[in-house]
């Protein structure tokens, strides 16, 4: 796997982050039609689908090494980005097992897992890691099991305990977030941590989603897409660091909008964990600049139309108000029709 840049210049400083041509074509574009409103857009998480990003249980792409390095930088500055409540230890081991088994099965060239009873050996060739440990013995790993394995994964992860017919956000590794705080939300129930989302409560989206998730079966994970926009390719747009990234919004001009403004897509996955009966929520963040995205004509004109028709409450919630007109102007709508679905309709760039 090539390593075009390191984390200290990719997601901060020079913002050297770039998608290759193949990276653009595999981008999980989130809009299946020319408009957007909230829905319970949950589908089975099976290997396959219109974007290559869906072809593995946990997607590993060209940004893997840089994103793991970026996570380490954020954790060094703020260890509270990874917290798990004490009653979730079994869910920690469930997560470690799920991620190790899935990564080793999907990417045998990069990862391997050898087991002799409870004695496991994990090899991560991309990060040059090889550790032997005892499954179930947290002291045999350099970190607690959830932190250990999510330091080696792209995207954020949270652990939801299921009790009282509700889900509680009782743990997480959150360094690539769209303006929400694990430290603030830790311990909250499903409706509490979704409190700030506009409109969807009235639509009954969260009531139905919670009912669905409470009966999520083991072995049949689901996924959904979510999106927002971010200025500069920053993974860490946290409330804790608002003073760092917030002012970026005022730096967008008609000249730099294509390079500065990024569509930020989250491929969210939900897994029932087998021993703990908890739910692992993966929030995998993908970034693409408007300049990169515009190389796919269908996506360019569709994003133009989505932004044009976006509900004012969603513009405000997603923080797009200041630069939305510039983005719409940049994404020229040639009036051509768009096919249904999220696929690029291209085989090469």
């Amino acid at each position: 796997m090539n390593k075009p840049y390191s984390a200290d210049t990719a997601f901060r400083g020079k913002f050297a982050y770039k998608n290759s041509d193949a990276g653009i074509l595999r981008f999980p574009f989130p809009f299946a039609e020319d408009g957007y409103m909230y829905s319970v857009n949950i589908e089975p998480h099976v290997r396959g689908g219109p974007s290559e990003a869906f072809h593995h249980v946990f997607d590993v792409d060209e940004h893997y090494v840089a994103e793991c390095e970026e996570r380490a930088i954020v954790l060094a500055e703020d260890p509270a980005r990874c917290q798990v409540l004490p009653h979730m230890m079994q869910a920690q081991w469930d997560t470690l097992e799920l991620m190790m088994e899935s990564l080793a099965e999907d990417y045998p060239e990069h990862f391997s897992l050898e087991k002799e009873g409870d004695r496991w050996t994990w090899t991560n060739r991309l990060l040059d890691i090889r550790d032997s440990f005892t499954f179930g013995d947290a002291l045999s790993l350099p970190y607690e099991p959830f932190e250990y394995i999510t330091r080696q994964g792209q995207g954020d992860f949270t652990l939801q305990d299921q009790r009282n017919d509700n889900l509680f956000l009782d743990g997480g590794m959150v360094t690539t977030q769209a303006d929400w705080s694990l430290n603030f939300d830790l311990g909250m129930s499903f409706h509490e941590w979704h409190g700030p989302v506009p409109k969807a409560h009235e639509m009954g989206v969260f009531d139905r989603a919670l009912k669905f998730l409470l009966r999520l079966p083991y072995g049949r994970p689901v996924r959904r897409l979510n999106w927002t926009m971010t200025i500069n390719p920053r993974l860490d747009t946290s409330p804790e660091n608002y003073s760092v990234w917030g002012p970026d919004r005022a730096t967008v001009t008609p000249e730099n909008v294509g390079e500065k403004v990024h569509l930020r897509v989250e491929v969210q996955t939900l897994f029932r964990l087998p021993r703990s009966n908890a739910i692992l929520f993966g929030i995998r963040c993908y970034l693409i600049s408007l300049a990169e995205l515009s190389r796919v004509p269908k996506w360019r004109r569709r994003l133009h139309r989505v932004l044009q028709g976006l509900d004012p409450a969603l513009q405000d919630y997603k923080g797009l108000v200041r630069y939305r007109p510039m983005a719409i102007d940049y994404l020229v709508d040639d009036g051509a029709p768009t096919s249904p679905g999220i696929q690029s309709d291209l085989t090469s760039l």
Binding site: M88, D161, R215, Y218, G219, P221, P274
Partner: protein, 316 residues
């Protein structure tokens, strides 16, 4: 992991615990490891018979997380719909039975400071996995088994490993015993009950009267309450009319004509089999729909509910 919803299990061993109780040990038919299960989980087995098959839910009674085999305990019930008799008489070591991967509708509350487990008869099975998960852990637990006189030795043997935690109560004085159990528990305690409907009602009512928070009262009932008068169901999308027999659930009748219908728990608890009713009046027997949804009569859980009218029209 992404796993198939149905996997083949091989019966490794059958152990006779009493004249009517048999313990079956199930392993993965392909020789690999089973999915780990959580405390309180069950499997739905597809039990083959000569003239029909049964899909019955059985709680996993072995230690959670164990991947070599699961154990289930089946009571032979003569007047049931027949699945348990078939398990007792038709299933032996070496047989391969298809079944679902484990699913949990009766999990332990990890926030509980103490766990009080109460079982009646064969209702002990999910609580055996609860006890195995709690044994040696930080939160204290106690287990109370209500039993017929004849089976006291059977349950005492089953619960022998939990000496100091478990107590077997003989028949008579259940109301007083339950009240005594629930009266002096510390704040933060959770109670779990499984067994005959009367015992579940007794425990839930007593706990409520003693001021236990609703969220601390847990019960599961896989009682066979899907039988009743026969009726017909029109599957509108499939354009098939089916007869639902007296000893058959609506879901089983739908499956018998080859129509794929959603399901998970087959016990009226999970809501996965919810289907839209186009005409006719459902006889609701599930635990999912709200009183308002029941009154509206537009939805039905096919796994347990039936019809008050001779005919239902379903959106299937």
């Amino acid at each position: 992991m992404i796993v198939p919803s149905q996997i083949p299990y091989r019966v490794r061993e059958v152990e006779k615990l009493s004249p009517t109780l048999k313990r079956f040990y199930l392993e993965a038919a392909d020789g690999g490891a089973l999915p780990p299960s959580s405390a309180g989980a069950h499997v739905v087995l597809t039990i083959p018979g000569v003239h029909r098959t049964w899909k019955n839910a059985y709680s996993i009674s072995s230690t959670p997380g164990e991947r070599e085999s699961y154990s289930i305990i089946v009571r032979r019930v003569l007047n049931s719909r027949g699945g348990s008799v078939q398990m007792h008489e038709g299933v032996t070591a070496g047989d391969v039975i298809n079944g679902a991967v484990p699913h949990n509708l009766f999990a332990l509350s990890r926030a509980g400071r103490k766990h009080v487990l109460i079982a009646g008869g064969i209702g002990i099975t999910p609580l055996l996995s609860h006890a195995a998960a709690l044994h040696g852990g930080e939160a204290p637990f106690e287990l109370h088994q209500f039993s017929s006189k004849a089976e006291i030795p059977v349950f005492e043997r089953l619960l022998g490993v939990y000496a100091g935690h478990a107590q077997v109560h003989g028949p008579g004085g259940e109301a007083e015993a339950v009240e005594a159990i629930l009266t002096h528990q510390p704040l933060g305690a959770h109670v779990y009950v499984c067994g005959p409907p009367l015992l579940i009602e007794l425990v839930v009512r007593t706990a409520e009267q003693l001021g236990w928070p609703t969220a601390a009262i847990h019960h599961e009932s896989f009682g066979d309450h899907s039988a009743g008068a026969p009726f017909t169901a029109m599957l509108a999308k499939s354009k098939i009319e089916i007869a639902v027999g007296p000893d058959q659930s609506l879901l089983e009748a739908i499956e018998a004509v080859g129509v794929q219908a959603p399901y998970l728990c087959r016990g009226g608890a999970c809501g996965q089999c919810m289907t839209r009713v186009i005409a006719g009046e459902p006889d609701h027997r599930d635990d999912v729909l709200t009183p308002e949804e029941r009154a509206a009569g537009e939805l039905i859980m096919t796994c347990v509910s039936r019809a008050k009218t001779p005919r239902l029209v379903l959106d299937l």
